[in-house]
Structure formats: structure tokens, C-alpha cells
């Protein structure tokens, strides 16, 4: 389903994007020229006035959008060779409602479907390097994968796929 986002110019300052949620709530995202962002919420009685706003630095805004984008997936992406060769490593937490929870790693068919390699699993303090396809995935496992940007995005989606 599409989301309605309106773009409004703030001459001399930046732009504001207005997101209207399905429930009719407005959320304003202000992007200033200097890179800072502000998230604004509106007064239900006076929908033109922002009730409160949160200022975010560029880095915080990026982290925040990551959080929102992967509702149940915490991950950290870092480029290999300074990101120039197109290969990345990603650490992602297995979502609590993933269909692969308590199932062997082989069931995900991650390498075939996404072209990425799962090189390690971190479970609490335990490290499982080069896990075999028979390794059972547990809750809160931190999965370390290597691949291209697109491949890792596919892996995120694959693992986030819920049970139903």
C-alpha cells in the first residue's frame, strides 16, 4: 500500500515532508540545509501547530530511519575495503517472529536465494564461526553475513519473513 507523503519547501531553510498515517495522524519530517532533521507531531485540536519536535543529527536520523525501516530487525552494515568494492558485512538480529526460528540454517537457503554468505552466528557470548546448514537458529541470534548490498537486503527480508 502506498503512503501519502507531501513535500513542502521551506524557502531558505530546507524542506518538510508530511506523512499522513492510515489513522489520519500527521507526522512532519523537517530536513534543514545543514543536515539536521526534526520530527514534528501535530496538535489534534489545531492541526497546523506542531506540538513537539525532536531534533536529530544526520547520524541519529539515519539510525532512526533504520530502526523504523526494519521493524523487527536490528542490523549494522559496514563496507569492506572502504565500501568501494561493493561488498558489505552485516550483523543482523534474528527477528522474534521469524519463520526460521528454531529451524536449521539450511532451511533458509540463504546462499541460493540471496547470494550472501552467513559467516558466523553470535549467540550470547558463544561464537559459531562458519556455521553448517544443520545449525539450529535460536532467538536473539546475531547473524553475521557478507554479500552485496542487494543480497543483504534480500537476506534481511528473508529472515524477517514471519511464521504465518
Amino acid at each position: 500500500m502506498g503512503v501519502r507523503i507531501e513535500k513542502i519547501d521551506l524557502p531558505g531553510m530546507g524542506v518538510r515532508h508530511d506523512v499522513v498515517t492510515a489513522a489520519g495522524q500527521h507526522i512532519g519530517v523537517l530536513s534543514y540545509r545543514n543536515g539536521t532533521r526534526e520530527v514534528a507531531l501535530y496538535d489534534p485540536e489545531d492541526p497546523d501547530a506542531s506540538l513537539a519536535s525532536v531534533a536529530l543529527t544526520a547520524a541519529e536520523a539515519a539510525a532512526f530511519s533504520d530502526l523504523l525501516g526494519h521493524a523487527a530487525l536490528l542490523s549494522q552494515l559496514s563496507g569492506l575495503g572502504g565500501g568501494t568494492i561493493g561488498l558489505f558485512t552485516e550483523q543482523l538480529v534474528l527477528p522474534a517472529d521469524s519463520r526460521y526460528l528454531d529451524r536449521p540454517l539450511g532451511d533458509t537457503e540463504a546462499r541460493t536465494k540471496t547470494g550472501t554468505s552467513i559467516v558466523a552466528i553470535l549467540r550470547g557470548k558463544e561464537v559459531i564461526p562458519s556455521p553448517t546448514p544443520s545449525e539450529i537458529l535460536r532467538m536473539d541470534d546475531l547473524i553475521v553475513a557478507v554479500g552485496t548490498r542487494e543480497g543483504l537486503d534480500k537476506l534481511d527480508k528473508l529472515l524477517a519473513h514471519s511464521q504465518v
Binding site: I8, D9, L10, P11, G12, M13, R16, D18, G28, L30, R33, E38, A40, Y42, E45, D46, P47, D48, A49, S50, S53
Partner: protein, 399 residues
């Protein structure tokens, strides 16, 4: 002692004093501009402590202040914003001009100052201060509000209108014959239009001659180009301020972004000097005479600004409280009022314009930001709620 030594002492003491005054103003949530101007009144001719050796320096500094204020204004706007705003809010801009310029012009005629002074006073009362208003919106946490783009687009259009108004004014105040004047105005408006068109279309090419990553050369390059164009513009009666504004608009991208950062401290310094200098050239003894007229003019034109904002916001579909916020935010006048009055006084149009514009600007810039806060009070909110309820009841009964 040498004059230069005295210059150092006077300017040094002045800046130190301004810094302390500015801190005080900011502590009370006020714009420091009124204090800078008052300082100028105190140290000027007829003031308490007239300055001697530093007037030459301050005069040049004030000239540079105008140039810097305007080039920064131009840098803040991208050409696409200007064109986009012109298309979307042209109607609000016309209302703004009619509602706020006409009272000023009428005022001059009633005072018996003649038609040229009427043109000057139209500009004095027309233009709100983008600097003061942007700061008020930021301080009150209103940048996310839905009426804010309307406030900003009115300001953009006013600034853009000044690119045409100032050349016309400088041509008229020179006081040539009607034909001569018409030719000068045509040349001025024509050249501004051409430069504006080129700036919007080909600004990127101009930006390419600068290297955005070397602060020193970028600072000198942009400042040099701005002063050069400002000087040339002044030479052909287009006014230095407009030349600087056009340079600011023409520069874009990373060059504009970095230049803005580099020029900001210079602008702060010389803009302060500009306001002080206008205070210096105004004789405080003339103020009592114009105080009542200035108060009346401020009351009328602050109301017309509220009306302008209210109507513009209403047209954009903003609710009642937001309409009031738009109108009340637009009240303060500032840099352009002073620039216009300065132009007129230098040309010897009507000596009373200086004290009048100074008093008028002080009134609006002090009371405007305070009045803008009214919309945040519980009294105002209750009032709005009652009005909405009445309207709701009325709509309910009619169906």
C-alpha cells in the same frame, strides 16, 4: 595620538559594548538589532557621546554590511525556490504589497512630504524582516508548523520584489527629469530582469569558477565578486544591495553552502555596524517630533501585516489559529526599512525620514516578536476554541 589609534579605541569599545548589549538582548529572547541602533543614536551627532575618529570606518563598514546582508539573503534562496514561490504565492505577494505599501505612501502624502517620499515610505512599511522573523519562528519552535511555509514565501517574495523596487527607488531619488528618470528606471529594471534570468538559468556556471573546498580563496573570491558587482550596480543606479542579492542567487550548490558558512561571521559583524551607523546618522533630537506619527504608522501597518498573513493562510487552507500565527509573525520590519530610509536620506529626500524610519523599525521589531507569542497563550487558545464552537453551532443549525 594618531587618528588610526583613536579609530581602534573607538571601534573596539563600540564592538565590546555591542557584544554585551547583544548578550543581554538574547538573554531576554529579544533581537539585538534595536539595541545596536540605539547604541548608534547614543554615539551619533547630537547623542550623548559622539564618536570622532571612527565615522569613516563605520560608514564603509555599514556599506559592506548591506552588501553582506543581501548576498547572504541571496545565498539562502535557491533559484528554484524563487521561481516556485513566484508561481505559487504570487497572489499573497500582491496583497502583501498593496496592504502594506499603500499606508506608508499615504502617510508620506498626509505629512506633506511629496510623491518621492511617498515612494520611499511605501517601501519602509512594506517589507518585513526575514532575519528577525526566521529567528522568532525558530525560537518559538514553529518551523514544523503548517503555516510556516506561507510566512516564508511571503518573505521570499518581498525580498525578490526589492530587487526591482530598490533600483526604481535609486533612480527616482536621484531626481532626474521625467524622461531621464523613465530611461534610468527602464535600464535598471531591464538589467535586473536579465541578470535574474541568467542567474536562475546559468548560475551553476558561475559557481564553477570557485573552488568550494578552499576556505581562504572561496571567501575572498565570493566576497570580491559580490563587492565588485555591488559597486558596478551602484554605479548604474541599480543599488549595491540588489547587485549583492543577485550574486547570492546566482551562486548555488556546494559553493553557495560553503560560502554561506564563511560569510556568516562577517555578515554578523558588518550588519551590526550597519545598524549602528544608521543610528549614528540619525539625530536623536528629531525623534520626539516623529514619535507619535511613527506609533500611528506602526499600529496601522502592523495590523495590515496581520491581515495579509491571515488572508494568505486562509487561502492556503490553514485553520483559524494558524492564520493569526501567520499574520502576527509577519509584523517586524527590519533591514530593508533601514536600507530604504538610508537611500532616501543620502539623496536628501526628506530629513525626517531617518528618525521616523528608525523609530518605526524599533517599535515593530521590539513589539512584533512579543505580540507573536500571544497565539501561544491559553487565553488565545480558549478564544479560538470558543470561535470554532460558535462556527460549528452555526453550521449545525443551518443544516
Amino acid at each position: 595620538m594618531h587618528d588610526e589609534t583613536w579609530m581602534l579605541i573607538e571601534v573596539g569599545a563600540l564592538l565590546l559594548g555591542l557584544s554585551l548589549l547583544g548578550r543581554l538582548a538574547i538573554k531576554f529572547g529579544q533581537s539585538p538589532i534595536p539595541l545596536y541602533m540605539t547604541a548608534g543614536l547614543v554615539f551619533g551627532a547630537g547623542g550623548l557621546l559622539p564618536l570622532q575618529a571612527s565615522t569613516d570606518f563605520l560608514s564603509s563598514g555599514a556599506e559592506l554590511g548591506v552588501v553582506l546582508l543581501l548576498v547572504m539573503l541571496g545565498l539562502e534562496y535557491s533559484p528554484s525556490e524563487l521561481v516556485g514561490n513566484l508561481k505559487s504565492s504570487a497572489r499573497a505577494g500582491v496583497w502583501d504589497a498593496l496592504l502594506n505599501a499603500i499606508p506608508g505612501a499615504l502617510f508620506a502624502l498626509v505629512m506633506g512630504w511629496g510623491p518621492i517620499a511617498a515612494l520611499v515610505m511605501a517601501g519602509v512599511t512594506w517589507v518585513s524582516s526575514s532575519g528577525v522573523i526566521a529567528k522568532v519562528l525558530r525560537d518559538l519552535g514553529r518551523l514544523g508548523n503548517r503555516e510556516t511555509p506561507i510566512v516564508l514565501s511571503v518573505l521570499v517574495l518581498e525580498d525578490l520584489a526589492m530587487a526591482f523596487y530598490l533600483p526604481i527607488l535609486s533612480a527616482v531619488v536621484v531626481g532626474a527629469s521625467l524622461l531621464q528618470g523613465a530611461i534610468t528606471v527602464a535600464i535598471a529594471v531591464g538589467s535586473v530582469s536579465i541578470v535574474l534570468f541568467l542567474a536562475v538559468r546559468h548560475g551553476k556556471k558561475l559557481s564553477r569558477i570557485f573552488h568550494s573546498e578552499q576556505p581562504e580563496t572561496l571567501l575572498m573570491g565570493v566576497l570580491g565578486l559580490t563587492m565588485l558587482i555591488a559597486g558596478l550596480a551602484s554605479e548604474v543606479q541599480v543599488s549595491a544591495a540588489v547587485g549583492a542579492f543577485l550574486v547570492g542567487i546566482a551562486l548555488s550548490g556546494q559553493v553557495a553552502h560553503n560560502a554561506e558558512k564563511l560569510l556568516a561571521p562577517l555578515r554578523d559583524l558588518f550588519a551590526a555596524i550597519f545598524f549602528v551607523f544608521f543610528g549614528l546618522t540619525t539625530n536623536p533630537a528629531d525623534i520626539p517630533e516623529v514619535l507619535l506619527p511613527a506609533l500611528a504608522l506602526a499600529a496601522v501597518t502592523m495590523s495590515t501585516k496581520v491581515l495579509t498573513g491571515y488572508l494568505a493562510a486562509k487561502r492556503a487552507g490553514i485553520g483559524r489559529p494558524g492564520r493569526w500565527r501567520t499574520g502576527l509573525a509577519l509584523m517586524p520590519r527590519g533591514e530593508f526599512t533601514v536600507i530604504i530610509a538610508g537611500l532616501a536620506v543620502t539623496a536628501g529626500v526628506q530629513p525626517l525620514i531617518a528618525p521616523l524610519a528608525a523609530t518605526y523599525m524599533l517599535i515593530t521589531v521590539i513589539s512584533g516578536p512579543i505580540l507573536a507569542r500571544v497565539t501561544d497563550t491559553t487565553w488565545f487558545k480558549a478564544k479560538m476554541k470558543a470561535a470554532a464552537k460558535r462556527e460549528g453551532a452555526l453550521a449545525g443549525s443551518s443544516t
